[in-house]
Amino acid sequence: MTALLLAVFTPLAGAGVLALTRSLGLAGWINVIVSAATFAASIALARDVAAAGEVAGMTFRVDAFNVYLLALTAFVGMTTSIFSRPYMRHVCQTGRTNARGMRLYHSMYQTFMFTMLLALSTDNLGVLWVAVEGATLATVLLVSLYRTPEAVEAAWKYFILCGVGIALALFGTVLTYFAAQSVLADPAEGLTWSALYTAAPKLEPSIMSLAFVFLLVGYGTKIGLVPMHQWLPDAHSEGPTPMSAVLSGLLLNVALYAVVRLKMLVDGSLAASASPHMAGRLLMGFGLLSFLVAGLFLHRQRDIKRMFSYSSIEHMGLMTFAFGLGGPLATFGALLHMLVHSLTKSAIFVTVGHAAHIAGTQSINNIRGLIRTQPAVGWSLLIAVAAIAGFPPFGIFTSEFLLLTATMKLQPWFTVALLLGLAVAFAGLFRHLHPMVYGPAPEGQKPVPANMIPVAVHLGLVLWLGLSIPGFLARWLDRATELITGGHLL
């Protein structure tokens, strides 16, 4: 329990401290240290969970499903903070922001981490909602950190769209609460997920299906499901790169996590009704749509970060589809995909940040010859993109493999769409990637001081996961699969 509290509230304290820290260099280090502490705490928490099976209490509840997401969040937060220290200093030196901006950045970074961890670890749908909304509020100012017209515009769209979405999610939460009133012994428990889960079969199906629609549209906006995705590329491309890394790597995961938790409730309530798979069907539909549309969008990108944010949409769509598909194999694959995707995608954004510094721009047409100029950056980008495109021996291949075979088993006709989508998305990524990394470098392009260690660590982990999934992780994922689908693989 203490580990849990530490893991969740360390970032909050860090945010407070950083809000008061004036020295820029110091702030960077504090940021790193706090994140490291958070990660350590999350590891301790993970060990507790491994020992006890689950840690619950004080409206918190950590089981196999969210513990690895917690650890992942803390880890990516740490590595990104390591990357962001020199990166943001470079940004500050180039004058794109000032000391106040940096203070805001650091404190908001930790606040964001806090909301993420809170959303993951809480057992209360209301708290979940508050945390996700808080995440929006924490990041919206960071998106507009550079104060360029584009940044402000992106931030406004992000704010409005996610605000509306989240409001709808609240309505869904209210409906859930409403449905719970008549069922639960203690109506005050009506927002406690575990209580609802046990009582799920008794929940009124008609209300729950309405509630799920609101929740899906609401949190789906955060996931970046087409057609509510429009904020995502803007926010990713205009915000500072570390922000993009954590947004793509973590926020989307958390939103998806929320949707899956709620799907478990709805499935329970609809099990006996006329359309027991309504939630799954909806997820499949949205997932497939996002997957295909995002893949097409990749082809016309001119901004490198925008492009990779579309690839995030594509992968979130794939996971949503997999969760909707259901069945142990697909679910296991989706859980694994959440893990490897956020690792790889954050690594990509880190590399992209360096690439943008090398070229001095984010426009794809002006980023050229990275391998010639700075082989480390060029090769990392190339290999990371190969990984995200689903090439072995990286983990994403494993999850996509499971996913495709599961689809072939359950819904063979969807595999055609998946095949097309993968091909289109792949072409879209590489047609832009090739000219950037390969070929001769433009005159006078110089290497920048880059810290590639986070990237190396992330890719190393993804490679490891691709070659063999360690036993404890396998057990966790399997347990999570069992929680979600009832069946398991091991």
């Binding site: 406004w156 769209k157 409005i160 769209l161 509306v164 979405g165 709808l168 008609s206 299906s209 309405l210 629609v213 609101f214 549209v217 087409v226 057609p227 509510m228 429009q230 904020w231 309504m278 909806l282 549309v293 097409l296 969008f297 082809h299 016309r300 391998i371 010639r372 082989p375 190969a386 495109a389 689903g390 090439f391 072995p392 021996p393 291949f397 494993t398 493999f401 499971l402 495709l404 075979t405 072939m408 088993k409 595999t415 095949l419 993968l422 091909a423 792949f426 879209g428 590489f430 090739h434 390969y438 070929g439 001769p440 070659l467 063999s468 999934i469 396998a474 399997d478 693989l489 091991l490």
Partner: protein, 669 residues
């Protein structure tokens, strides 16, 4: 694992990985690639060869499990005769590359392209190819398969300063990826019928005809795309020439065979049921590939592109043989099916050898004359004699001329095709002879093609200055070529012996061997019955040598003194200059005129400002215009239309949210 063959295979993979790891240090000392990485690579090849030979000799099955992969599905390894045979194919060429490589990569040590990438991915490439042949479950197979594509892609992009190479690499990886996905889905079909991704489970699966056909189609597309069957071949002539020549040799000689292996494994072993419709499909596609491949090869004037297209042709021949095998097996003529199957295997091996040999030759020319355009070459036989003679062997073998190895596989193929009268279905009885005709035409055109290659490149006079200054290549490179050349001859002269080795493969896969074919002992090939057809390569070779010797002894010996050097006669015109020679383009012109409609030809005469008219001719693949560009256009159009979703107006976005919400509410309530 205690099985010797399996140990050897493991050693081979390990050595390949070590070689790729070692070459990471070439950042600090470039010569490491030459002195350590390439020799290790060669050793890996030898180990693979040993493993394969053991597997073929023992003709047993050894399995093992690796502590890697999915928690509930560890990577499973299996070494049987089929894997063994293809291990041999990979091993031989890799060993030759190990000999040839050091001399060749020396040229890159001063270059700007990164050596660690070259060496590292070369080793990885070999390792993944070996793993593909060893894999015994779909997951491990796909991992190795995609690793093979990826590593070779990096090698294709090695000279990435040239835009064409970048395009080629992109095209290659894209199509490899699509193909890989198709294969994966094919496995998915089998896995969902024989519950489980392990190959044993799939062997057990008995899918109904419809699903089996789906699996067949998917795998055929996937492996065919990798093998370069028309019309899925477009990447091949772009990618293979782009890579360094020893890599081209690996890609054309070996990787395509790995695709053939995949097809055989998937189809003959895993699906394990034969339907004549599938046979017809394979036969037709193979025939088309063979013809189109050789015709396009004839039109090329870049040596490496030409060789790549001729790979398309040979793959087509292999698939013709496989198609015949399927047809005969589906009709229940096991013996004939076995003969065709063996022909396919033998041709796979042969093609690996002579295509490797020819790419080595092209590499040698590139290395010493820095030229790959045939129209600039000429007279190289006198400047680099060894390379010249070895390449001659290659050209003879690939043109299917006795007593070299290409002829044997073609002969077997014809023999099985001539047994068509045993089939009951009239359709097949008419179809197969036509495919045989296509095969004959292919062979003749291939001969024309390689007469052109050899005559233009090695004979006559040099057409450009740097070719005139060409020097012989280092001994190591010649040794690599020599090894393959000797093997080409050996496989041509002693086919029965080598077929005896291969015999274990059909015995395991099809349940019966080539006993009939090899009944006559090492001296004779008798596919069906001695009185039906027989061929004794050793005697033919022997007699040929004896007759030639006789002629030389009668005429050559005494009259040596009466030979005088003089200017060329040339009907008494002015002494011929190199510019008067026939070029490669000119050589192929009659055939271009006859088969004109197959190509997309743009021919024009432009008047330069210096008043000298310049003749321009470019011949491109019709499949681009017919298949690839339309697809690309469709995707582009879809992307353009879809982009209106991102109009930029926040109110429109909110409208989308509202509409989605209402629609969903409508749906659920």
């Amino acid at each position: 694992m205690t099985h010797t063959g399996l140990n050897a295979a493991a050693l081979a993979v390990a050595l390949a990985l070590v070689s790729s790891f070692v070459s990471l240090f070439t950042v600090w000392s470039p010569r490491l690639l030459r002195v350590a990485a390439m020799p290790l690579f060669g050793l890996a090849g030898l180990a693979a060869l040993a493993a394969g030979l053991v597997a073929l000799a023992q003709a047993d099955v050894a399995t093992a499990e690796l502590p890697l992969g999915l928690p509930w599905l560890p990577w499973r390894v299996r070494l049987d005769a089929l894997s063994g045979f293809f291990l041999c194919v990979i091993g031989v060429v890799s060993a030759a590359v190990g000999l040839y490589g050091p001399g060749y990569v020396r040229g890159f040590e001063s270059g700007r392209d990164s050596l660690p990438a070259l060496g590292g991915f070369t080793g990885l490439f070999l390792a993944s190819m070996l793993m593909v042949t060893l894999a015994d479950d779909a997951f491990f197979f796909m991992v190795s398969w995609e690793m093979m594509s990826l590593s070779s892609y990096f090698l294709v992009a090695f000279h990435h300063d040239i835009a064409a190479n970048r395009r080629a690499a992109f095209m290659y990886l894209l199509m490899a990826h699509i193909g890989g996905m198709a294969i994966l889905l094919g496995f998915g079909v089998l896995a969902s019928f024989g519950d489980g991704l392990a190959f044993d489970a799939m062997r057990g699966a008995e899918p109904p005809f419809g699903w089996a056909s789906a699996a067949f189609a998917l795998s055929f597309i996937g492996f065919g795309m990798k093998a370069g069957l028309v019309p899925l071949h477009a990447w091949l002539p772009e990618a293979h020439p782009a890579a360094p020549s020893h890599i081209s040799a690996l890609m054309s000689g070996v990787m395509l065979k790995v695709a053939v292996y995949g097809f055989i494994r998937f189809f003959f072993d895993l699906i394990g049921q034969f339907h004549w419709q599938w046979g017809v499909a394979v036969l037709a596609v193979g025939g088309v590939s063979a013809l189109a491949g050789v015709l396009y090869a004839l039109m090329q004037h870049d040596l490496k592109r030409l060789l790549a297209y001729s790979s398309v042709e040979n793959i087509g021949v292999i698939f013709i043989a496989l198609g015949l095998a399927i047809l005969f097996l589906s009709a229940g003529h096991a013996t004939l099916g076995t003969v065709a199957f063996a022909a396919a295997l033998y041709h796979a091996l042969n093609h690996a050898l002579f295509k490797g040999l020819l790419f080595f030759g092209a590499g040698a020319i590139l290395h010493s004359a820095h030229e790959s355009n045939l129209d600039q070459m000429g007279g190289l036989l006198r400047r680099m004699p060894w390379t010249g003679y070895f390449s001659l062997v290659g050209c003879l073998s690939i043109s299917a001329l006795p007593p070299f190895n290409g002829f044997v596989s073609e002969w077997l193929l014809f023999q099985s095709a001539l047994q068509v009268w045993r089939l009951d279905s009239g359709v097949l009885r008419t179809l197969i002879p036509i495919s045989a005709a296509a095969l004959a035409l292919t062979g003749a055109l291939a001969a024309a093609c390689f007469v052109k290659v050899y005559g233009v490149a090695f004979l006559g006079q040099a057409r450009s200055r740097h070719v005139r200054r060409a020097r012989p290549v280092p001994y190591s490179m010649r040794a690599g070529q020599g090894m393959l050349a000797v093997l080409c001859l050996a496989l041509g002269v002693f086919p029965a012996t080598f077929l005896g080795l291969i015999n274990a493969v059909p015995q395991q896969i099809l349940g019966r061997g080539l006993n009939q074919t090899l009944a006559g002992g090492w001296l004779w090939l008798t596919p069906v019955r001695p009185d039906v057809a027989s061929y004794s390569a050793p005697l033919v070779a022997l007699t040929l040598i004896m007759l030639a010797g006789l002629a030389v002894w009668l005429l050559g010996r005494r009259s040596v003194f009466r030979t005088r050097r003089c200017d060329a006669w040339d009907c008494g015109f002015a002494p011929p200059t190199p510019r008067m020679q026939y070029t490669a383009t000119a050589f192929a012109q009659p055939i271009r005129r006859v088969f004109g409609l197959l190509f997309h030809i743009e021919e024009s005469v432009e008047n330069q400002d210096d008043g000298k008219p310049r003749h321009r001719l470019d011949i491109s693949d019709r499949t681009w215009g017919l298949l690839y560009l339309p697809v690309a256009r469709v995707v582009e159009g879809a992307a353009r239309r879809i982009s209106y979703l991102q109009s930029g107006n926040v109110r429109v976005y909110l409208g989308w949210t509202l509409v989605t919400l209402l629609a969903l509410l409508w749906i659920v309530s």
